[in-house]
Amino acid sequence: MSDTKAVQVFRIVIKASAQAIWEAITKPEWTERYGYGGRVAYDLVSDGRFSHGASPEMKSFGLPDEIIVGKVIESDPPRKLVQTWHPLFDPATTAEPHTRLTYEITEHDGVCTVTITHDATNAPKVATMVSGGGDPQQGGGGWPWILSDLKSLLETGKRMAGS
């Protein structure tokens, strides 16, 4: 595998309203239902705090209560969310600088395009982790896997088979 680029882009089309997708990203009752689970807490104002809590399963493996933290840079519901993103669940990535994450949601003809731009400049281990080249069951699914699971949940009410 070549070096993971600092800026990575992930895009998926979801048949759901922009509001539903916004809530699935920013509300804990949604985030615990897809991806790696865990409840988020967002203060959706400029400089507001962000944290992603560990799921009960993660806690049982000894992970900290907050696995990802950051600050909100821009919140324009339900279209755009810019924030910093800093993992705390693994020393190698925690040692790297904070990264910048942008969610963009555009609605057209009853479907939405969701684009994640993750700028992991000077944080190569974070970049590799979120790129999704690994086994999803071992935590290596990255954004491609999390977005695919979000799509399944919003479109069918169920998560992807086997996850």
Binding site: V7, Q8, F10, I12, V13, G141, S148
Partner: protein, 105 residues
């Protein structure tokens, strides 16, 4: 069906080469990509547009430039839908057979 369009987009060697180039270095301009491919700018543009339409490539403006990024999400979906389901077990069985035969040979 979404998969059909992705498979059709992947069926062309120039388009696969464009994806390989973006895998090596993400976020390239049309001009940079054209240098690597023996084809007119118009031809490369046409292939990039097909890749963009099926979501394998995402373009973003950065100042005056348009940068092209590889979007791994549709490839992940194909992997989960096709490779995982049918082949992983068989591939690992073939891998074990190959190792066994080579050890004997």
């Amino acid at each position: 069906m979404e998969d059909d369009r992705v498979f059709k987009a992947l069926a062309d060697p120039t388009r696969r080469m464009l994806l390989d180039l973006l895998f090596q270095r993400d976020g390239q301009t049309l001009k940079e990509l054209q240098v690597e491919i023996d084809m007119t700018r118009f031809g490369v543009m046409k292939h990039l547009r097909i890749l963009e339409n099926v979501g394998l490539v995402v373009s973003k403006r950065s100042g005056r430039e348009k940068l092209h990024f590889l979007n791994p999400v549709p490839i992940r979906a194909i992997h989960d839908r096709w490779i995982d389901k049918y082949s992983e077990h068989r591939l690992s069985a073939l891998g074990a057979l190959k190792r066994e035969l080579e050890r004997k040979g």
